[in-house]
């Protein structure tokens, strides 16, 4: 009995419902959604602390015991992700207040954001495979709304693609769950893990593991399945892209991590090897995309793909160091992608274009913005005092320990290309002579800078305070490395 851990799901749901009633009153909408998402941050920090002090928290919804009812499980990994989600939600909302146009706000933009947060937090907290599917759908349907809201031509065009891909992957998800249910007769993740380890991972289960990899890979944009992402993420306003880039793909990554560490971990020489190579190819293709484009939004979008590859390689290498590194890197990446997209949003708001060749010399008129971008870029690439460093270091170290020298080397090289791709924005956009037409549009982006300052401060603190954060992260990694901790907490054996 522990109703605390359902609050990250209930609060956004309640807020979204209330916001529907106030859909014409924009001021009330803004206040309610800001207060609710700030409450979300507090609640999820309490959950993180509670999990840290007294172990995994579970809640049997409706008082039906573990394998029979739906269980919500907050282990350290998922509660840290819920906390990061609520921080991203809060900062994105602050950014949305001054960038989203009135007609969008009147057509349920803020309820859409709240439903998105509900889906993401639910997907992180659930301990049931079909419930995970339901939360995926909640998240995806609100992302359809946010993607198409405003109905410009490009948004309509890209949402058709996005919806088509996601409907197909959801159908595959249902089929995969049906197969797994037919084999094991249960849908609770902990119970699944127990039954599979009892019957041994046969070829049939391995096929299902690959099927789940395809399903979650489509959501999380890994190598052959990322084709839908660059276009779809470019269409909506930047704040929506920030929410998508920071949260949606990470839910796919989280699900791959969860099923590959909890359920399908008995035949790593096959399943994890495939995952490792797909991760490597994801990194390579993401890096190629990031250096190829001159559109600042596209550059950051391709950096999402690279990061997904890096995180998944940490899971695939499956050594204590690598898994810990991947937890570090996942949280770092959510924060920094949020910050980068918001920065890109400010740049677009100032210059009126996202094309890098059309503006330069921003540092002269906006020095603060420029140096914040610089910090974000160094942090993204993993330069030591900042947050990207520890995660990547541990992932590479774990990769070498696991004997994956080639892929670990690819991870190292990718940092260089990632650094090049964002420095290209800094050098061409911020340095150089200010172009003439820029002097005309010298808007002051003050309100827009606050959420970015919060995120940059957080990522710097995350980098500098690794010592302080590490007990939390290693607790998360311990649960991922040893499924019995999770199983015992859920099934109470």
């Amino acid at each position: 009995m522990n109703n605390l851990i359902i609050l990250p799901i209930i609060i956004p749901l309640f807020t979204a419902i209330i916001l529907i009633f106030f859909n014409k009153n924009i001021k009330v909408q803004k206040w309610i959604s800001a207060i609710a998402s700030f409450a979300g941050i507090i609640i999820s920090s309490v959950i993180v602390q509670r999990v840290h002090e007294s172990g995994i928290q579970t809640l049997a919804v409706g008082n039906w015991k573990a394998p029979y009812g739906i269980v919500l499980v907050a282990d350290m990994y998922s509660s840290l992700l819920v906390l990061t989600t609520s921080i991203i939600a809060f900062t994105s909302l602050l950014f949305a207040f001054s960038t989203i146009s009135h007609d969008r706000e009147k057509f349920f933009f803020y309820p859409g954001v709240q439903f998105l947060i509900l889906g993401v937090s639910g997907a992180f907290l659930t301990g049931d495979l079909f419930n995970l599917f339901v939360f995926f759908e909640v998240m995806l349907m609100s992302s359809y709304l946010l993607l198409v809201l405003g109905s410009r031509k490009i948004q309509l065009q890209e949402s058709i693609k996005y919806i088509l891909v996601n409907v197909i992957s959801s159908a595959l998800f249902v089929i995969a769950v049906a197969y797994l249910y037919a084999v094991t007769g249960t849908l609770n993740m902990a119970d699944l893990s127990v039954r599979i380890s009892e019957m041994g991972q046969s070829g049939y289960i391995t096929v299902l593991a690959i099927l789940f990899l395809i399903v979650f890979g489509l959501k999380g944009a890994i190598f052959p399945l990322f084709f839908w992402l660059p276009g779809s993420y470019q269409a909506p306003p930047t704040v929506v892209t920030a929410l998508f880039g920071a949260l949606l793909t990470k839910v796919g990554v989280y699900s791959i991590t969860r099923v590959y560490t909890l359920i399908f971990y008995h035949d790593p020489s096959f399943t994890h090897q495939i995952l490792a190579w797909l991760a490597a190819l994801t990194i390579i293709f993401g890096a190629i995309g990031a250096i190829a484009f001159w559109d600042i939004k596209k550059i950051v979008i391709y950096n999402i793909i690279t990061a997904v590859g890096v995180i998944l390689f940490g899971i695939a290498a499956n050594t204590p160091e690598a898994v810990e590194g991947s937890v570090y890197y996942l949280i770092h990446d959510m924060i920094i992608k949020g910050a980068l997209f918001l920065l890109v949003g400010v740049i677009i708001a100032i210059t009126g274009t996202s094309h890098l060749r059309k503006f330069s010399g921003l540092i002269a008129s906006h020095p603060f913005l420029g140096w914040m971008f610089f910090i974000a870029a160094l942090s993204l690439a993993g330069i030591p005092p900042f947050s990207g460093f520890v995660g990547k270091l541990k992932i590479v170290q774990g990769g070498f320990e696991a004997g994956e020298y080639t892929i670990a080397f690819i991870v190292l090289m990718s940092s260089l290309l990632v650094l090049y791709s964002v420095m290209k924005i800094f050098i061409h956009g911020f340095w150089g002579e200010p172009k003439e037409e820029l002097l005309v549009q010298k808007k002051s982006p003050k309100g827009l800078l606050i959420p970015i300052v919060i995120l940059i401060a957080l990522t710097t603190a995350y980098g500098l305070g690794v010592e302080w954060i590490s007990p939390y992260i290693s607790q998360a990694a311990d649960t991922l490395l040893d499924p019995t901790i999770y199983i015992q907490a859920v099934l109470k054996e």
Binding site: M1, I10, I20, N23, L59, V61
Partner: protein, 140 residues
Amino acid sequence: MKTNDLILQTATKVVVFIIILFSWHLFFSGHYTPGGGFIGGLLTSGAIVLLLLAFDLKTVLAFLPIDYIKMTATGLLIALLTGVGSFFFDAPFLTHTFSYVDLPILGTTSLATAVLFDLGVYLVVIGVTMTIIQTIGETE
């Protein structure tokens, strides 16, 4: 030229009540026999769609002045609150309970709080269906 659909309209006036009664029957019998909030809500909105077919949008709005979006939100709120209600009894979210109550006319009936959750589902289904149909109907 407007066609004369007197037969359709007269038949509708009779049939709509039968459909709505049947949908309520399905709604309330969901605990023990096939039925429930989803199919009940679909059938009720089916009755309203029949009204829309026989009359036009304005007429139907005139005697059923319902904001279906608010109705959806109300349904969601009811469903959520039945879940949250368990908090006050120190039970996990969505824990339901039931008891046997002697009602004046119906006799001993089992009243379950799950019905309140189903009422939420019922309202959401009607709200969503009617919003979809009305929005498509209004668009030129």
